[in-house]
Symmetry: C2
Subunit: 581 residues, 2 copies
């Protein structure tokens, strides 16, 4: 018997939701392509996410877009070069490579996340794990970095990587956005975009991909004022939490979870409540989703607390669809350290405070002497944001190296810069904001949406997609392919398209087959033009889920359909079916 | 004096449209980041493109999404490994690398596109070109491939590249989409997505990027029936064409350009007319855009005719914003050859025709014997689409190699397959469709939109963005920060946001400064709440472009603003200004 995953995969391929990429070349694991319906569904999921997470909070949360290809320095700073790895074993006989933890899981072991090299080697030896392909002996475990590596420009030493998350784009640009938005905190920076992770041997279709799309927010807040402006909106929301070390989840209001200390901060709690509601809109009921707290070994290197939002699936059990991390000031601190730029935010104090400031002053005439007049502006503007202490340190060690776009690397010494200390009365304190991050993978959401809307009825497939998400809202069918009926159908098609609805028109095939296809691809309503339409200008409107039909005046169609889409339910359709469903 | 590019770059950075990426690490050429306004503007450009190119033609043109990372085989087939190159020279003294044609252009030479190695070497010697950085001697010219290279999975021999165009995604998936869409031609497959090109030393901000976003359509048509279904819609459109070898463009109706043979096929002509209209919507008038035909040496390797749509800019002169290529059946033919799969479409004939068919038949018991029962289904389903002639050829040479996902590479021989010839009466002819391609670069469009909407008036900047494109539609300002006024302003803000409009609310600063900021970021309308609002529930609405103001009843605001946004012009605002503009 096929399971739901197989059924959905077949449907998705046949109807154009998604399929494995590079089919004509035999396919490559970890890549999928989206067809017309897949793109429609994906875009509707993205739009819904914006409606839930961004649009209502526009004064606080804004969207940016940053590049996928990233210079190595960024991931050295963020810790991904060191930590974004899996353990791999190679068969000494056939040379095939496998994820060490996956092989042990196949032997029935669990809780392997976070185990180290020696522990994995020990378990492989103990359990007598062999190569699953050829039965050969496995070599020792080694680390494999999951970043896709490349070279930027014509110099082989300029290493770059494809980003594995969009988040670093928000950290790198935090200070600019903070300035653009008027130096206000809290500040949320959102991004939707492709990311890449070079998985070792992915085999779970849309669940484990080497390239996928992420929607995430980095919410920057003042750790001395960590309250979430919008918490009240979700105060009544109950979520299921499985705390680390517990066996059973508890159902609890987010505000209570905060009081109990189960969730580390208000912003993470707020986003978890929104995430629960968001999944409800996507068709996942409360009892099929929960938040699982990760243990100390299982968390990403940057996180002080992490919850995975998981959804129950038929084949894979609980599958993560979003991650909720409290990233503290980890990333900003690291980038400040590696870049030497001051990335701190400002906190205004009522009373001024005398403090000592190190000010970096250029010796302009020597800079011109050594680097030329035309390079002066770029050098000066690069000095602005330097940390005085770092400059003193660098100068004392022989010179300050600056990497300036359009100029390249230059070295400044005591002849070019002096650092003076002065006292100033300061009404401003500088500090590194803390960060709460909700992060969603779209392709997994797309899959669970399909799994939760998949129904079978009398041997036919119905995709009961939430109406908002359905890529096509209405189908228009002439009952038979006759000129008069086709003409009316075309008029209705044109009119509904003008209303901004996504509509299809199909003239060929039996009406039963066309209804069946419309059900399979999740079209909520089908309009049928029949001979009676020629007499009284009415058509039938058929509901995907109940198969009920009702006659409606053609002139009222746009209003009628829009109301049905908005209100969801189809109470009006009380008449018995006229044509085979 | 600053030119427009510098002015726009400064504005874009200060206000959050775009800026160079990785600033805190000194910046890297060829990458930009988009801030909140940049993302808003980009998404509105994309939406407008869909409205012009996709939505009205949904029965013919559908959107897909395919991966960025692509196995090398695809670009071997497409010719990108061989042809997607620039010529590079290295300074023997300092080791810096440059594009050979750019160095020659700096010496005043033009028309260098398509020159070969020996010609470039000769010109460099003749003109005595030296290293522009250190004056050193330049080595010989060599080819540099612009594809970003990486490795897929843990095996170093599995080379992959980031795609330099989305087009290959459409070719690889043509046959699947063709099946999904009911085997109808013409069929357009559109894609919007990131692409990467490893430029050697890009220095033109958003104009020459290493990573950017493309919107393109591959329109597949039957070469025996090349007529464009929608040509009549654009019959009256006049476009400017600069034919190859001519000095002056001609202004001509697209249908006449087709009759004269200036444009090779109806679909390319149709898309060129749409492209002209699309740029009009973006604020580029007819006399600042044209289509330049590329010469035989300048065209891409896959194209039989190419027009670049160019827009006049202040700094760079005519800049390409879209390309219109007639790709013929080049790509499908290549992929058919390299993959061994039959990618042809079907043409139905009235009369049947007897033809000989080679049918590949599996010998199931031997396949089970050699590969096991569980691999049988995957092997059988891979046999379906094989070309009989290729199989015969492979078997005669000792065996047929198949690369099957989940199994890997296997070799079948005469014990596993037989190929039989039989005659059948065939009502179907198979053929490779031809392809017309319009392809737009979004970041360049974003830049020219800003350049064409940039105005200065009384020392202030006004960004007269087309209203449809403006990222923020309305600003709401209490005249002064008083509780009563702020309360009303908040109500208006909330109400307009609920209408689906993008709105900002600003309470701080003088009203003049707030108007100035609203003008700079292109907000079409500003609503001001003043003391009179407390008495008679009216507010002023101010027009960005004319600085005129009119009083409007608060209750009528949503309707009033929506009408203004739809109709564009602001005739209603006849009253003189009340506050400083």
């Amino acid at each position: 018997m096929e399971d739901k995953y197989e059924k959905i995969s077949r449907l998705a391929k046949r109807r154009g939701f998604f399929w494995q990429s590079y089919e004509i070349y035999g396919g490559i694991g970890g890549f999928i392509s989206l067809g017309p319906l897949g793109v429609g569904l994906k875009n509707n999921i993205i739009e819904k996410w914006r409606e839930v997470f961004v649009k209502p909070y526009r004064e606080t949360i804004v969207e940016i877009e940053t590049p996928i290809i990233t210079p190595s320095k960024v991931f050295e700073a963020s810790g991904h070069i060191e930590h974004f790895t899996d353990y791999i074993v190679e068969c000494v006989k056939c040379g095939r490579k496998f994820r060490a933890d996956h092989l042990l899981e196949e032997k029935g072991l669990t809780g392997l996340e976070g185990l180290r090299e020696e522990e994995l080697n020990r378990l492989i030896a103990e359990k007598g794990v062999k190569c699953p392909e050829c039965g050969g002996t496995l070599g020792p475990v080694s680390k494999f970095n999951l970043l896709f590596k490349t070279t930027i420009g014509p110099y082989s030493e300029q290493v770059g990587y494809a980003r594995p998350e969009t988040a670093q784009g928000m950290f790198l640009n935090f200070h600019r956005i903070y300035e653009v938005m008027g130096r206000k905190l809290p500040l949320g920076i959102a991004q939707i975009g492709r990311v890449m992770r070079n998985e070792i041997s992915p085999r779970q279709g849309p669940i484990r991909l080497r390239e996928f799309t992420i929607m995430e927010i980095e919410l920057f807040f003042d750790p001395l004022n960590p309250s979430c402006t919008y918490l009240e909106e979700v105060a009544g929301e109950r979520i299921s939490i499985l705390r680390y070390g517990n066996r059973e989840p508890i159902k609890i209001k987010v505000v209570e979870a905060l009081e109990e200390g189960f969730i580390a901060n208000e912003w993470n709690a707020f986003f978890m409540a929104l995430a629960k509601k968001f999944l409800n809109y996507l068709g996942i009921p409360d009892d099929k989703q929960m938040f699982v707290e990760k243990g100390p070994q299982e968390k990403a290197h940057y996180s002080s607390q992490t919850f995975d939002q998981v959804v129950l699936t038929e084949r894979w059990g609980w599958v993560e669809v979003s991650g909720h991390a409290y990233r503290t000031d980890y990333d900003l601190k690291k980038h400040m350290e590696y870049s030497g730029r001051d990335l701190r935010a400002y906190r205004f104090k009522g009373e001024g405070e005398v403090r000592k400031v190190l000010q970096v002053k250029p010796i302009v005439k020597n800079i011109i002497r050594d680097f030329g007049k035309d390079k002066l502006p770029a050098i000066l503007s690069n000095l602005n944001s330097l940390d005085g202490r770092k400059v003193v340190e660098a100068l004392s060690k022989g010179g300050l190296e600056l990497n300036i776009e359009g100029i390249g690397s230059i070295k400044l010494n005591n002849e070019h810069l002096i650092v003076v200390e002065r006292e100033e009365k300061d009404y401003v304190e500088r500090f590194l904001p803390h960060v709460a991050e909700p992060s969603f993978g779209i392709e997994r959401l797309l899959y669970v949406v399909l799994e939760y809307s998949y129904r079978e009825r009398k041997g036919r497939i119905i995709l009961s997609l939430p109406k908002e998400l359905a890529p096509i809202k209405v189908a228009v069918f002439p009952l038979v392919k006759e000129e008069g009926l086709c003409r009316i159908a075309k008029e209705i098609y044109g009119k509904l398209k003008k209303e901004g609805l996504t509509v299809i028109l199909e003239e060929e095939g039996s009406i039963g087959k066309r209804y069946a296809k419309a059900d399979e691809i999740g079209i909520p309503f089908a309009i049928t033009v029949d001979r009676q339409s020629l007499e009284d200008s009415t058509v039938t409107v058929r509901d995907r889920d109940s198969w009920r039909q009702v006659r409606v005046n053609i002139g009222e169609l746009p209003k009628f359909i829009n109301r049905l889409l908005r209100e969801g339910a189809l109470q009006a359709l009380e008449q018995p079916s006229r044509y085979p469903p």
